[in-house]
Amino acid sequence: MNFDFSDDQKMLRDQAHKFLSEKCTTKTVRKVFEGEHGYDKDLWKQIAEMGWHGTAIPEEFGGLGLGYLELCVIAEELGRALAPVPFSSTVYLFAEAVLAAGTDEQKKKYLPKIASGELIGTFARSEGAGAVTPKSIRTTFKGGKLTGKKIAVVDGMDADFAIVLARSSDEAGERGTALAIVDLKGAGVKRRVEDSIDPSRKHAEITFDGASAEALGKPGEGWSHTSNVLNRAAIMTAFEQVGGSDSCLAMAKDYALQRYAFGRLIGSYQAIKHKLADMYVNTELARSNAYYGAWALSTNARELPLAAAAARVSATQAFDYASKENTQTHGGIGFTWQVDCHLYYKRSRELGLSLGPQRTWKDKLVTELELSNAA
């Protein structure tokens, strides 16, 4: 039994932690949260120089070729710091989609630029409120041209390229779907920043009006590639969520150890102690599920879809609970703009929605259980 990260991986986590606690304080987060820019350019450049973007990208495509366990420990620290950079869109989604479905030529074209930090990518799925299903996709990709509208595209304002889930034929269901890579700076693309609950990750509405795009993978495979990429991204995002939960628990604990009420530290009241104990329990369960996801990711295990759904649901629940109860522990001051509680509260919900809501993942989880009979 060796269900833990290696010493080297832990060292990488410690380095990432040290770096981010210096270079990415909540002041850094607030600059993006309250500002015009979609991300912190200095931070983005520095982490690219350290090679983080290319952690799991093979060396032949300009990456470090380390692996997914290494990427997971970095994700945990990015999540802990609420890092305001388009890392998840570019690395967990765009790069993963190119690695999974791209031709050799496409890998050579995009991956080295991702590894070097020159290229920001994103993945556009949703077109409106409600579940994203093959049926809900109306954007078309025909004859190399994209037409339609995507909403709530994370980092969509700053991305250079987007992978777009579109309809490539009139075949019903997922058989009619395809992925396309589009240059967001090209003709026929219009973008508008959307108001969102977490402006430290800017969301965009992107309209395509016959924009030139290239196919990623074969027609008819759009939906299955998307599912696979989302599964992988869900695991890495779960590490971000676990990191965020840890931050909330640390913040709540610090406050409970300095705030007095009725002549006692509030941390001595069971109402607070039990709340924090529950935060701890949820976070540890989520961490363990995320570890299992990391194992599945790093070995490309058959269990990956189940592991991903469990990691996703567990981590979303942990971060939601920790962020809302951190605010509650702080009382009135926790509901002010000035105190950081709301940064976590908002990021938690944003991460919980951006790869699809819990409801969707829970249904996937049970479907996987039915298939594997492994509950």
């Binding site: 039994m1 060796n2 269900f3 833990d4 990260f5 290696s6 366990l69 628990l249 604990k253 409970a256 150890l257 006692r264 530290l265 941390g267 001595s268 069971q270 607070i272 102690k273 039990h274 924090l276 104990a277 529950d278 701890y280 329990v281 540890e284 369960l285 989520a286 961490r287 363990s288 599920n289 570890y291 299992y292 990391a294 194992w295 790093s298 070995t299 759904a309 469990a310 649901v313 567990s314 629940q317 409801r359 993942w361 829970k362 249904d363 989880l365 049970v366 259980l369 039915e370 492994a374 509950a375």
Partner: protein, 414 residues
Amino acid sequence: MDFEDTKEEAAFRAEANKWLSANAKLRGSKSSKDDMAEMENGAAAEMAASRAWQKTKAKAGYARITWPKGMGGMGGTPMQSIIFSQEEAKYDVASGGPFAIGLGMCIPTLMTYGNDEAKKRFVWPAVQGDEIWCQLFSEPAGGSDVAGLRTKAEKDGDEWVINGQKIWTTGAQFSDYGILLTRTDPNVPKHKGLTMFWIDMHDKAVDVRPIKQASGGSGFNEVFFTDLRVKDSQRLGEVGQGWQVALTTLMHERLAVGGGQGGGLDVKELMSLARTLELEDGPAIKNASVREKMADWYVRSAGLKYTTYRTMTALSQGKQPGPEASIAKIVVASKLQDISAFAMELEGEAGALKGADAPGNGAFQMGWMSAPGLRIAGGTDEILRNIIAERVLGLPQDVRVDKDIPFNKAPGGR
């Protein structure tokens, strides 16, 4: 990251399997659920089987793997102990049973605080299952607050005279010996006036009365002491040091790594049930609210399973497990209660039946009946949350108004 044994662990596993297959039969389809039903009342046949299996293991050093050779152990590692339990679970043997408290808590306390004579006398008979021990701590007036206990021990020459009552004593009805925490000085604050003894449960001054539990079984007891006389040489630790001794005992009450509490009722069993039932809108397994709940419980079960893997990894690497090991019982007990209640919901009006009249022989009804006990025994959910908050997170202890005043002056109706 992998789930493989190290070379040494694999070798130990193979060796354990070789021994097990020579001494027992594979379990086959018999589930752990059946065991739970069999064990609850310590039925005579089951007791005899447990003793026989314990004796076989003790001779081979598998009874307490981490204990020294010649004491029922083999000087092994905690990881080897886990590996053996995993393999043992595949065999149809009476592996649970009445020895856990004695060997897990009482004997280790005796080994730390008992005199040489006591160690020589008691360790081996306990390891090989000839003698059963119970732990006499909780009282009607002191459960979670065990240091508030009132059972009195008064010095009389070279003896102590003990009067009082214990409660919730698991296995007292078939125990031969027990370790007993008493109050020897009511004039000092409560933690300072306690003293520990080992006692003979067959003494006629000890009266054991089984308690009928809400679940119908009688796993635990009330124990009354009327002028029980014990020798001073039966004292474990110094006079007034009983609390420290008790902490040693409780420290040994470790997480049962790899062991599944919860009576074998989990998402898998709920799924099996949901596959067979029809609801208003079709098969239960296709119902969105059923699926959502199954997912909620699955992530807690899986999270716990992989937390155990993390603990085992630490043990495998010769490290102390992290504090994450402390979350198990909180998660398991309330999940059992929730899953059972939900399964009964799915069964509808038939869910109110039990035993052979109930769907699935009433497995979920039995889980539902036992869950309240599981949420209380061995530390209530609330005490366990206090422990996490205080020992893991470093939050302050509760205000304890009776901490610094003499026990007999403290509020509490004494």
